[in-house]
């Protein structure tokens, strides 16, 4: 069976999850590669969640939140906006390409945007190929 990118999508319940719903009810086609996890706010996504996703076999992680200024919790998405670039910089040191993590803003009315972000991300990860976390479990910690 040919390889398909596995992407974990963390979607904020107020905007992006509804955006994804709209994409569905509007029958806008989008790649089926994103496994969606609904979170109360994009800032609920601790860096450890993203790391755990990669450790558990994800090839990419997509985080979607409300547009800046629109956060239901006033400034949650600003915290996400600060965390993700620092996390990406660190993950690079772990051999995880920056493009494997994407943060974007999708509102409840942006079904089209949801579909295009998902499609772009899927294609990007497809280009990068599978990510296999290496935990040094092999004999003598072989990597």
């Amino acid at each position: 069976m040919s390889w398909e990118p596995r992407i974990v999508g963390f979607l904020c319940s107020w905007c992006s999850y509804r955006g994804a719903d709209l994409a569905g009810t509007s029958r806008i086609p989008s790649a089926p590669n994103v496994k969606v996890i609904k979170v109360p706010c994009s800032t609920r996504v601790e860096p450890a969640f993203v790391i755990k996703a990669f450790q558990s076999g994800a090839d990419g992680v997509l985080i979607l939140g409300c547009h800046p200024g629109d956060c239901h919790y006033i400034e949650g998405n600003y915290k996400t906006m600060r965390r993700v670039p620092l996390l990406k910089k660190m993950l690079k040191q772990f051999g995880i390409e920056e493009e494997r993590v994407r943060l974007d803003w999708v509102s409840a009315s942006e079904g089209e945007k949801y579909a295009s972000v998902v499609n772009e991300m899927t294609e990007k990860v497809r280009e990068l190929g599978p990510f296999k976390a290496n935990n040094g479990e092999g004999q003598h910690g072989k990597n």
């Binding site: 601790e46 860096p47 450890a48 790391i51 755990k52 990669f54 450790q55 800046p68 600003y78 915290k79 906006m81 600060r82 965390r83 670039p85 620092l86 996390l87 910089k89 660190m90 040191q93 772990f94 051999g95 995880i96 990510f131 296999k132 976390a133 290496n134 935990n135 040094g136 003598h140 910690g141 072989k142 990597n143």
Partner: protein, 319 residues
């Protein structure tokens, strides 16, 4: 009453844990009253073969410091586990991988190339790197194998207790030894330490709302003695680190680097530290955020200073 049989061993470590063990000072005499030290390479002349000859579970307690980086260390960890009733992981390297664990950002080949071929001070014309075995006229010589990945002691053998620190503070060491002497060791799996909350809980500095426009490395700034270092833009791991040390570094105007391990309830100390640091950046403009993040030269080495092998990813993927 028969004396307690105590063994102490070092693996991939710097020797600081031995200094910390001696730091208990005259209390060492109290320990000797009730305990016989049967193995301690730094201080007494007992050979590996003597340990091999000891019956299984004949050692009451083994204090093991250092990470597992070579086949010899792995062998000794397994042997001492078999010979000891209670195995105590002593210090950050044994507990979480420690400073040697940062080697997990590379592999053996990269480390050998750097250490034996590339450094400016290296004079190695023949390009010799350590081999596990070589035949010479006198016979065969062998060296332990150097692993690609550093592991912690709990990732190598079953461990009964953890004593945190780099090195453990005198009072932490004594807390464990006293419990041992009085036969009042806590339930298996416990971390033996004074404080289960964060280092911030021990830290006497005043803490206000944290908003940071620029991060500094400790040498780049003369910090205020009274105010939280994180507020001043110094990467202090106190928020992600278990207390119990008494915030010694903070009292010396230096940031916490995280040696007492993750704060209770946190599995990945580095990710937790990163999260706290990023959240206090005082900007809502992506470009400005990027330039503030540029101040952090080595995120992996800073956030996982002592805990890389114990982290979720354990090591970097290198090609």
């Amino acid at each position: 009453m028969a004396k307690i049989k105590l063994a102490l061993y070092w693996a991939s470590s710097c020797g600081g844990c031995e200094i910390a063990q001696l730091q208990i000072g005259e209390k060492l005499l109290k320990l000797i009253e009730v305990a016989d030290i049967v193995f301690w390479p730094v201080a007494i002349d007992v050979k590996y073969k003597d340990v091999e000859a000891m019956p299984e579970k004949s050692i009451d307690v083994c204090l093991f410091n250092g990470a597992i980086r070579t086949s010899e260390q792995e062998h000794m960890a397994k042997m001492l586990r078999d010979k000891s009733k209670t195995m105590i992981s002593y210090g950050a390297c044994a507990n979480y991988g420690g400073i040697p664990g940062l080697g997990n950002l590379y592999n053996r080949e990269m480390i050998f190339n750097r250490a034996y071929l590339e450094t400016q001070s290296t004079d190695n014309e023949k390009g010799v790197t350590p081999q596990t075995s070589i035949d010479v006229p006198e016979g065969n010589l062998s060296l332990p194998e150097f692993f690609d990945t550093v592991r912690s002691l709990p990732q190598t053998v079953d461990v009964d207790y953890i004593i945190p620190g780099c090195p453990p503070e005198e009072k932490t060491t004594w807390l464990a030894l006293e419990a041992l002497i009085q036969n009042k060791l806590p339930p298996k799996g416990s971390i033996i330490s004074h404080n289960v909350k964060a280092v911030c809980d021990d830290c006497p500095r005043t803490k206000n709302e944290k908003k940071v426009k620029k991060f500094y490395r400790p040498f780049e700034i003369e910090p205020d003695q009274e105010v939280c270092l994180l507020e001043q833009g110094i990467l202090c791991a106190g928020v992600a680190t278990a207390g119990g040390c008494g915030a010694m570094c903070l009292k010396a105007n230096m940031p916490c680097t995280g040696c007492y391990g993750p704060v209770k309830g946190v599995t990945d100390q580095g990710a937790h530290f990163l999260s706290a640091v990023a959240s206090i950046i005082d900007s809502t403009d992506p470009e400005e955020i990027a330039s503030i993040i540029d101040d952090i030269a080595d995120p992996a080495g800073t956030f996982y200073r002592y805990s890389l092998p114990d982290s979720l990813l354990r090591r970097a993927k290198v090609s």
